[in-house]
C-alpha cells in the first residue's frame, strides 16, 4: 500500500483536512451545504415518581421539512434519556458518544449510571468545542440519588431545573409549563402536561411539527411512548392513488439475477 493511501479508522475525534479546500471553495463563491437542524420543541419535567421527557418529531433543512417523523429522544442509559435540539448530526453524535462512554463506565464500576455523570461528560465535550458543536440538550433520568433533570446549552453551561424546555418552540412550551406546573404531579397528569406543552410548540412554532414523543422514566422502569399523540394526520388522501397509464420510455434494461449465497459449512477434515 502506498503512503498516500486512505487511512484506516483514525483514533477518533474530528479530522480537519478538508477545511482549507472548503475555504478556497467558499472564496470562489461556492456556498457550503446546509445542515439538517431539528427546529424543535423539547421539554422535560419532574413528577412525583421520576422524570418525563417530551419532543416533537420534525426535522428541517432550511424551510423544507426533511423528516416528518424523526426521533429526538435519544437513549443514554437504561435509566437516562436525552432530548436534543440544534444541528441533528451533532445531537446524534454527541449522545451516541456519551452513551457508549456511560456503558464502559458501567462495566468498570458495576453500578447503574448516574445522571450527573452523563451531564459532566456532555458539558465537558461541548465546552471543549466552544459552542461549535451545536447541540442543545435536555437530559433527564432517575438514579440512586433520585430523579434529575438538566438542560445543557451548546457552549457547555448547564442548569438543573424541575421543568425545562429547549429549542425554537421553547417559549410556547414554557408558557404552558409556567401556568400549569406544580410539585407532586402524578404520572398521568405529567404526561398530559408534557403533551400539551409539545402540542403548543407544534402548533405555534414553525420549526416544530408532526407528532409527540414522550418518555417516562421512573425508578427501575422506563417507558418510551413513541408517537404518543398524532395531532397531524394526513387529511388529503386520494383513495385511488396515482395510476400511470402512459408508461415511461425505457431506453435500456439490464436484469442481473442475484446468485444464491452458498453457505460454506465447515466439514470434517478429510482423513488421509
Amino acid at each position: 500500500m502506498s503512503k498516500a493511501a486512505v487511512d484506516v479508522p483514525l483514533k477518533g475525534g474530528f479530522s480537519f483536512d478538508l477545511c482549507r479546500r472548503n475555504d478556497m471553495l467558499s472564496k470562489k463563491g461556492v456556498q457550503p451545504p446546509s445542515f439538517l437542524k431539528t427546529g424543535t420543541t423539547i421539554v422535560g419535567l419532574i413528577f412525583q415518581d421520576g422524570v418525563i421527557l417530551g419532543a416533537d418529531t420534525r426535522a428541517t433543512e432550511g424551510p423544507i421539512v426533511a423528516d416528518k417523523n424523526c426521533e429526538k429522544i435519544h437513549y443514554m442509559a437504561p435509566n437516562i434519556y436525552c432530548c436534543g435540539a440544534g444541528t441533528a448530526a451533532d445531537t446524534e453524535a454527541v449522545t451516541d458518544m456519551v452513551s457508549s462512554q456511560l456503558q464502559l463506565h458501567r462495566y468498570h464500576t458495576g453500578r447503574e449510571s448516574r445522571v450527573v455523570t452523563a451531564l459532566t461528560l456532555l458539558k465537558s465535550h461541548l465546552f471543549s468545542y466552544q459552542g461549535y458543536v451545536q447541540a442543545a440538550l435536555v437530559l433527564g433520568g432517575v438514579d440512586v440519588t433520585g430523579p434529575h433533570l438538566h438542560t445543557i446549552y451548546p457552549h457547555g453551561s448547564t442548569d438543573t431545573l424541575p421543568f425545562a424546555t429547549m429549542g425554537s418552540g421553547s417559549l410556547a412550551a414554557m408558557a404552558v409549563f409556567e401556568s400549569k406546573y406544580r410539585e407532586g404531579l402524578t404520572r398521568d397528569e405529567g404526561v398530559k402536561l408534557v403533551t400539551e406543552a409539545i402540542c403548543s410548540g407544534i402548533f405555534n412554532d414553525l420549526g416544530s411539527g408532526s407528532n409527540v414523543d414522550v418518555c417516562v422514566i421512573t425508578k427501575g422502569q422506563t417507558e418510551y411512548l413513541r408517537n404518543h399523540q398524532l395531532p397531524n394526520p394526513r387529511t388529503y388522501i386520494n383513495e385511488k392513488g396515482y395510476g400511470f397509464s402512459k408508461k415511461t420510455e425505457v431506453l435500456l434494461t439490464k436484469i442481473t439475477p442475484l446468485k444464491e449465497m452458498v453457505e460454506v459449512i465447515e466439514g470434517d477434515a478429510m482423513e488421509e
Partner: protein
C-alpha cells in the same frame, strides 16, 4: 455548493423490494459536460448508494466507502448490512464535521430477510431513516412534492418502477441543473433490474 454540479436522487420502498433512481447530467454550473454520469454505485448485490452534490466529493467518498467495505468483507467474511453501512457513512461524514464533504448520500439496501431499508443523510452525517421515500440533490424540493403525492405503500416492483420514474422525471423537469434522462435500479430479493430512462434532453 450543491448548485455547482446539479443532481437528483430518490429512493423508494416497495413490498420486499426497493428502487433507487438518479438523473444523468453532470454540469459545471450552467454548462452541461456529460449526459451519462453515474451517481448510484453498487456496494454489494443488495446495497446501493447514491451520492448527490459535488461530483468530486461523491467520487472520493465512494472510493473510501468501497475500501472500508472491502476491509469489512475480508474481516467478517460477509456483506455489510444496510443499517451498519449507514452508520459507517454517517461516521465518515461526521469526522469531517468542521470541513465537510459537499455530498449528500442516499443509501438503499435489502437487510435481513430481504426487508428494504432506505435512508439519507445531510452532508455531516445526520441520518434520516424513512419508511417510504428519501430524496437528495438540487431537485430535492420538487422531488419531495412529487413523491409525497405519488407514493403508495407496498407497491410491487413494476408499479414501484413506474412511480419512481414518473416522480424523478417530473421533478427534474422543473430543475435546470439536473435531467438528461434517468437511471433506475429496482432491486428485489431475486434480481436487480437496471433501466435507463428517456427524458427531456434539456
Amino acid at each position: 455548493i450543491f448548485e455547482y454540479n446539479g443532481s437528483a436522487i430518490v429512493a423508494m420502498v416497495g413490498k420486499n423490494c426497493f428502487a433507487i433512481a438518479s438523473d444523468r447530467r453532470l454540469g459545471v454550473q450552467l454548462q452541461t459536460i456529460a449526459t451519462d454520469f453515474q451517481r448510484i454505485y453498487k456496494i454489494h448485490d443488495k446495497l446501493f448508494i447514491g451520492l448527490a452534490g459535488l461530483a468530486t466529493d461523491a467520487q472520493t467518498l465512494y472510493q473510501k466507502l468501497v475500501f472500508r467495505h472491502k476491509l469489512y468483507q475480508l474481516r467478517e467474511e460477509r456483506d455489510m448490512k444496510p443499517q451498519t453501512f449507514a452508520s459507517l457513512v454517517s461516521a465518515l461524514l461526521y469526522e469531517k464535521r468542521f470541513g465537510p464533504f459537499f455530498c449528500q448520500p442516499v443509501i438503499a439496501g435489502l437487510g435481513d430477510e430481504d426487508k428494504p431499508f432506505i435512508c439519507t443523510m445531510d452532508s455531516i452525517g445526520a441520518k434520516e431513516l424513512a419508511k417510504d421515500f428519501v430524496v437528495a440533490g438540487t431537485a430535492s424540493e420538487s422531488l419531495y412534492g412529487a413523491c409525497e403525492a405519488m407514493f403508495k405503500p407496498d407497491m410491487e416492483a413494476e408499479e414501484l418502477f413506474e412511480t419512481i420514474s414518473q416522480a424523478l422525471l417530473s421533478s427534474v423537469d422543473r430543475d435546470c441543473l439536473s435531467g438528461w434522462g434517468g437511471h433506475v435500479y429496482v432491486v428485489t430479493a431475486t434480481e436487480v433490474t437496471e433501466r435507463i430512462l428517456k427524458g427531456r434532453m434539456d
